[in-house]
């Protein structure tokens, strides 16, 4: 059975009609596999089983005595058992994400976005959501360590007093600092103070996944280091040049929100996105047009684009003649059409266009993009520039020279203040040797990681949820980072450690208040704490003038032009800093739905050329360095290009991410041996040989598939699996989504139950806005105590996420289009699950929720079998037992006390966050007022950057969700089954360029359905 004709497919094997897959899908229990020893060691297994699980349920029976411990003096305004939220911020890559942290009885349990903050607008990304698990990670370091033995902050201070003696004559020539890029003004102030006291000391910022090329590019173009801030609200046309501006950017959450405003057809004029990229990213899936192109061909593409925009056919500004590579590229008809169309569109939208280059592109490309933006009158409109402070600038050359000096014995004291350069520095920068040679080496970090193991001293770093600091957004808005709890392990922040070295008061609060007083009126402090930011503190953009173009001439690619290997920051683990975070490790990747691994991603055509198959283990060799990686054949990967994620193969992350001392293998493969300082993002001339071995990759893309019989029935009913239309089709037939399915009139087999007047909860998910960022998945996991099960269980189809982020491809596997769709329980009014439960463990409420009663469930799994959406998740094991082990007690604190912990043999699924519904209902009734529309937000809705998810009361005709359900775009998933889901989707509408689309009439047929 081949599905070559199927319009939508989730995996390449499904598309090709793979027999083994069909056999597996046809079995009744696809997830049943012999429970043999899987070779997972016990400790790892337990850790994985519940890295996120839940409070061990103390029995509620009276014969087990329970104590009530009260404060001896309760703090004012403290209400036991009630949650409070505090505004704070998280600094990642030197840019602030404004957050609100919910605390329960004085401990943080959930992170939300701060609606007042310009970088978040109330939403979050996966990293902010997963910060809770990072905070309570039992593998965090708990004490100051010197040479493997416990020490103290006092001893550390005493040991540093000679090196940091102000009376020393060498002005700190022997001091070297490697720190993360930090946007914290207090950190920057301490850095400046250190460099002032010790002018010959060296301070290097290093980030393995930095925007160094971008800043260097603006420096080339404008003569000073600047950082762009993009305004997607004003951008009507976007061309992304290998730029994943949604995931791989410090301001991704804001980009996602702003871009989505122009993706909804009701917005009036829709925006249009062109993506030119080497691997399939969220930008490519969102884009109206996507061109798979090797990263090393992107500069050539830019030259062609420049020629058409700035040359004689365009602005007549004079564009340099395209180089040989660009001329070669222009011979490709697809590329030529794409460039022409994009250039025409840009020219038609001067001042409203946006061209961006990715962080993997050379500085010269970024400079040329800046020039192009200037030519299109976009600077100051869709893009503004602000100075990039030194402390925010990662610099690989500076790191290299510091390490070389240290290795030569010129650096006496080498401090690593945050970060893990031993693991994430490029292969040709030997940080470990530098630390080894230095007389004194110090590491400040959250855990005893690879760098800590190489250092004499390790200092526990304070997590942002437990420390005072500050941060600035990309527009300069100032935020205070305030602690929600005292440091769990006496950790300190970077600024505190530097202050201590300088012999100053190392009180975090005092340091931040000092910074605050220098910038603002100290009277505004409480307001800033409350709001999480200082209003109107954004910096004005700087005026820019283009430098002479000779300074940013593109160089033609030379040398081996064989397979290129692209490194990219893992959207989950980034550079490996989240490797010990079970939530993120188990999160299915956006494109591949891969969990618990990285892999060499190649497109189907490239795989054929290389003669490799999915899950083959291959040896990749570049310039003599080689590495073994499993192959993942990924749709949409550009021909001649392969990609691999950073952040895997840790040897000292912890019992989740890998730790040699705990005898836990690293998750995935560390690609450091292949990554060089002068090719941080792209290495050319990769050789790939099969080793003859295979390796199983735990991808969820083929889970919950439809078997052959179901597929056939589906094809009879559906024109296409996911209804979508172009803006033009939508204008002609706004109700296209209602006419995709062919079915007889819907008659109910049983009498409808009359529901009393009252709330009718419902949800709407806008597929035009959703870009598959997965924030909802992790938010749901954090809110609802969803356990992590580990790779072995994921391989058996037993992942527990209540939200499944589906990705449906269509078209050519090497250049597919895709639509992403989050699917959770649809809360059917005629719920098929309810009718088959023998013990009434899943029943309907008066308000239309499909309740799941854990204590009644006996685990027959009939409900899951009968669920057409496959959104029910079964606890095959007691995923919470490990929490009773003393070393994991800390993780108990990460659980939401408002949600029951599920045990073995129990089914679970999305509840529409019923705990939030109940809380708001009770509060509103206590105050004798109705519930306001939008007052109840589900966890997924609250986290969603593009605000694609809307929850509310369908009984109220004016509620936002009612209005969205009334939209012509609104359709119910499998509505033809007459199950009446309370959740509806708004069909995706794209806005392709008519010049690039063959005329199509394939929209819903009105005559027969």
């Amino acid at each position: 059975m081949s599905n070559e004709t199927a319009t939508h497919w989730r995996s390449l094997r499904e598309r090709a009609g793979d027999e083994a897959l069909a056999e597996r899908v046809s079995r009744e229990f696809t997830d049943i596999a012999p429970e043999t020893a899987d070779g997972v060691d016990r400790r790892r297994f337990l850790q994985l089983m519940g890295a996120s699980a839940a409070l061990a349920t103390a029995s509620g029976c009276n014969w087990e005595e329970e104590e009530i411990l009260t404060f001896s003096s309760r703090p004012q305004d403290f209400v036991p058992g009630a949650t409070k939220s505090y505004a704070t911020a998280m600094d990642l890559f030197g840019a602030a994400k404004g957050l609100r942290v919910t605390t329960f009885d004085g401990r943080p349990i959930k992170v939300e976005g701060n609606p007042l903050h310009p970088s978040s607008g109330g939403a979050t990304d996966v990293h902010a959501q997963a910060a809770i698990l990072e905070f309570y990670d039992p593998d965090r370091s708990r004490a100051v360590i010197r040479g493997g033995a416990p020490s103290s902050w006092e001893e550390f201070g005493a040991a540093m007093s000679t090196a940091f003696d102000p009376g020393r004559g060498d002005q700190g020539a022997g001091i070297g600092v490697i720190a993360r890029a930090t946007g914290s003004p207090t950190d920057a102030r301490m850095r400046a103070a250190l460099l002032e006291r010790f002018p010959r000391a060296t301070w290097v910022a290093w980030e393995a996944a930095s925007d160094e090329n971008h800043v260097r590019g603006t420096e080339l173009a404008f003569g000073r280091p600047l950082r762009a801030r993009y305004d997607f609200r004003r951008a009507r046309r976007v061309v992304a040049l290998d730029a994943d501006f949604l995931r791989d950017h410090a301001d991704g959450v804001r980009h996602s929100a702003e871009l989505a405003e122009g993706r909804r057809p009701e917005s009036g004029a829709m925006n249009r996105v062109y993506a030119v990229e080497s691997r399939f990213t969220a930008v490519g899936a969102t884009a109206d047009h996507r061109l798979p192109l090797r990263a090393s061909d992107v500069p050539a593409f830019l030259e062609l684009l420049e020629e058409r925009v700035m040359g004689d056919q365009g602005l007549k500004r004079g564009a340099p003649a395209p180089g040989a590579n660009a001329r070669r590229l222009a011979q490709n008809e697809t590329v030529r059409h794409f460039v022409d169309a994009a250039a025409q569109d840009l020219l038609a939208h001067r001042g409203e266009a946006l061209v961006l280059a990715g962080k993997g592109q050379a500085p010269e490309v970024h400079a040329r993009v800046a020039r192009l933006m200037d030519a299109l009158d976009c600077v100051g409109r869709t893009v503004t520039f602000r100075p990039a402070a030194d402390a925010t600038r990662s610099d690989v050359q500076a790191l290299r020279s510091l390490c070389a000096r240290a290795a030569a014995g010129e650096v006496e004291t080498l401090l690593v203040l945050g970060g893990n350069p031993v693991y994430d520095a490029p292969a040709d920068v030997d940080v470990a040797a530098a630390l080894e040679r230095a007389e004194t080496s110090v590491h400040l970090g959250l855990a005893v990681d690879e760098t800590a193991r190489a250092c004499e001293w390790h200092l526990p770093q304070a997590h942002f949820l437990e420390s005072w600091s500050d941060a600035v957004a990309l527009d300069g808005t100032y935020s205070v980072v305030q602690p929600t709890i005292l440091p769990l392990f006496g950790g300190r922040g970077v600024a505190q450690v530097v202050a201590m070295l300088l012999g100053r008061d190392a009180d975090g609060l005092a340091l931040v208040r000092e910074t605050f007083a220098q910038r603002f009126d100290a009277a505004g402090w409480n307001r800033a704490l409350h709001d999480g930011l200082v209003a109107d503190s954004a910096e004005a953009p700087v005026a820019v003038a283009l430098a002479d173009e000779s300074s940013y001439r593109l160089s033609e690619p030379t040398g081996d032009t064989g397979l290129e290997l692209n490194f990219y920051a893992c959207p989950k683990l980034i550079d490996g800093r989240y490797a010990n975070n079970g939530w993120l490790q188990e999160l299915p990747d956006f494109t591949t739905k891969l969990t618990w691994d990285n892999a060499l991603m190649v497109g189907p055509a490239t795989a054929k050329d290389l003669g490799v198959e999915h899950e083959d283990v291959v040896r990749v060799t570049i310039d003599g360095a080689s590495l073994e990686l499993p192959v993942f054949i990924a749709p949409g990967e550009a021909k001649g290009s392969a990609s691999v994620a950073l952040g895997y193969g840790r040897s000292a992350a912890g019992v989740v991410g890998g730790s040699t001392t705990d005898e836990v293998f690293g998750v995935g493969v560390d690609v450091r041996p292949l990554r060089k300082g002068d090719g941080l993002w792209t290495a050319r001339g990769a050789r790939v040989e099969r080793t003859g071995r295979t390796y199983r990759l735990a991808t969820t893309t083929e889970h919950h598939m439809i078997d052959a019989a179901g597929m056939e029935a589906r094809e009879q009913r559906l024109d296409r699996l996911v209804p979508s239309a172009t803006a033009q089709e939508f204008a002609e037939h706004p109700d296209f989504a209602q006419h995709v399915v062919h079915h007889p009139p819907l008659e109910s087999l049983w009498k409808d139950v009359e529901l009393p007047d009252g709330h009718r909860w419902g949800m709407s998910i806008d597929l035009s806005a959703c870009d598959g960022c997965n924030a909802c998945v992790i938010a749901c996991q954090a809110e609802n105590n969803i356990p992590v099960v580990g790779k072995e269980q994921v391989l058996k189809g037993r992942e527990m996420h209540w939200i499944r982020m589906d990705l449906y491809f269509s078209g050519d596997p090497d250049a597919p289009e895709a639509v992403t769709q989050p699917v959770a329980c649809q809360q059917c009014e005629h719920a098929p699950c309810e009718q088959v439960c023998p013990v009434a463990a899943t029943v309907h409420t008066q308000e239309g929720l499909n309740d799941m009663v854990y204590n009644r469930c006996v685990g027959t799994r009939y409900c899951s079998n009968n669920c057409p959406f496959k959104v029910r998740r079964f606890n095959f094991f007691n995923n919470t037992a490990f929490l009773d082990e003393p070393e994991n007690e800390l993780l108990q604190l990460a659980q939401n006390p408002d949600v029951t912990v599920r045990s073995r043999g129990v089914m679970e699924k999305c509840t529409f966050c019923v705990q939030r519904i109940q809380r708001t209902k009770i509060d509103a009734k206590n105050d004798r007022r109705p519930i306001r529309d939008g007052e109840i937000q589900t966890a997924c809705q609250q986290a969603c950057p593009p605000k694609a998810i809307v929850f509310g009361d369908l009984a109220d005709d004016d509620s936002q969700v009612s209005r969205l359900h009334a939209s012509p775009r609104s359709y119910a998933l499998l509505g033809e089954l007459n199950i009446r889901p309370r959740n509806q989707y708004l069909a995706r509408v794209t806005n392709p360029n008519p010049a690039l689309v063959p005329a199509s009439t394939d929209h819903g047929d009105h005559d027969h359905h």
Partner: protein
């Protein structure tokens, strides 16, 4: 030797065996149902507390309002057990050297909590909210009994799911004017049911029996 034969009448016993087996089954089920029920196990539970605090003295004779100590009962789920500081409001001057109050003084001096024993203990998967009940007119006395007459607090109701549902299905006997919620001795002048029904109609009280009302 003649083989032993059971007398014929023993066949009657064999016929009776199923009855015995049936009765044993009924007995076992009954034993577990009764012996394991909250009525048997929980009602009357009155553990000894670290300080023999008497509600009869404080709430009864001295007529201190419930909310003087259980401050959060109208706002949130928990009717918080008071911090030691609340006790010290009076006991800084009264009975300052009572040996019974030593744990209290120690708690204040050392900032360590007093280890009270929980009397009314619901299952952890049941989410009860005090504020939702007292603001609707369900008095403390409905669930906790005449605490103002107890020297040692004991559980007087089973607090089982069936018992909760009894009231959720028919709240009328337990609804009273909101200002009488904390008056444990209050008796309606009219029939409690008709008063309850009137109040329910006036205030639109409609307790839910959906599972997710209490289980999340």
């Amino acid at each position: 030797m003649q083989r032993f034969h059971f007398p014929r009448w023993t066949n009657l016993l064999v016929r009776g065996l199923p009855i015995v087996a049936g009765l044993t089954g009924v007995y076992l089920v009954g034993l577990v149902a009764f012996g394991g029920s909250p009525d048997t196990l929980a009602v009357g539970y009155a553990p000894e507390q670290p300080i023999p605090f008497s509600h009869r003295l404080h709430a009864g004779e001295l007529a201190i309002d419930c909310r003087y100590c259980h401050t959060t009962v109208e706002e949130t789920a928990h009717a918080a057990i008071p911090p030691a500081a609340t006790c010290m409001n009076c006991h800084e001057r009264i009975k300052t050297d009572s040996p019974l109050l030593r744990p209290l003084r120690e708690a204040v001096a050392t900032d360590r909590p007093i280890e009270w024993i929980r009397v009314h203990d619901l299952a952890d998967y049941a989410y009860f909210d005090h504020s939702a009940h007292v603001t609707r007119g369900v008095s403390c006395v409905s669930c906790h009994g005449r605490v103002d007459q107890m020297d040692v607090v004991e559980q007087v109701e089973p607090l089982s799911m069936g018992w909760c549902l009894d009231c959720h299905r028919d709240p009328a006997p337990n609804v009273r004017p909101v200002d009488k919620v904390f008056d444990l001795a209050w008796e309606p002048r009219e029939d409690a049911r008709s008063l309850g029904e009137r109040l329910i109609a006036e205030r639109g009280i409609a307790p839910s029996t959906d599972c997710s009302t209490c289980h999340r």
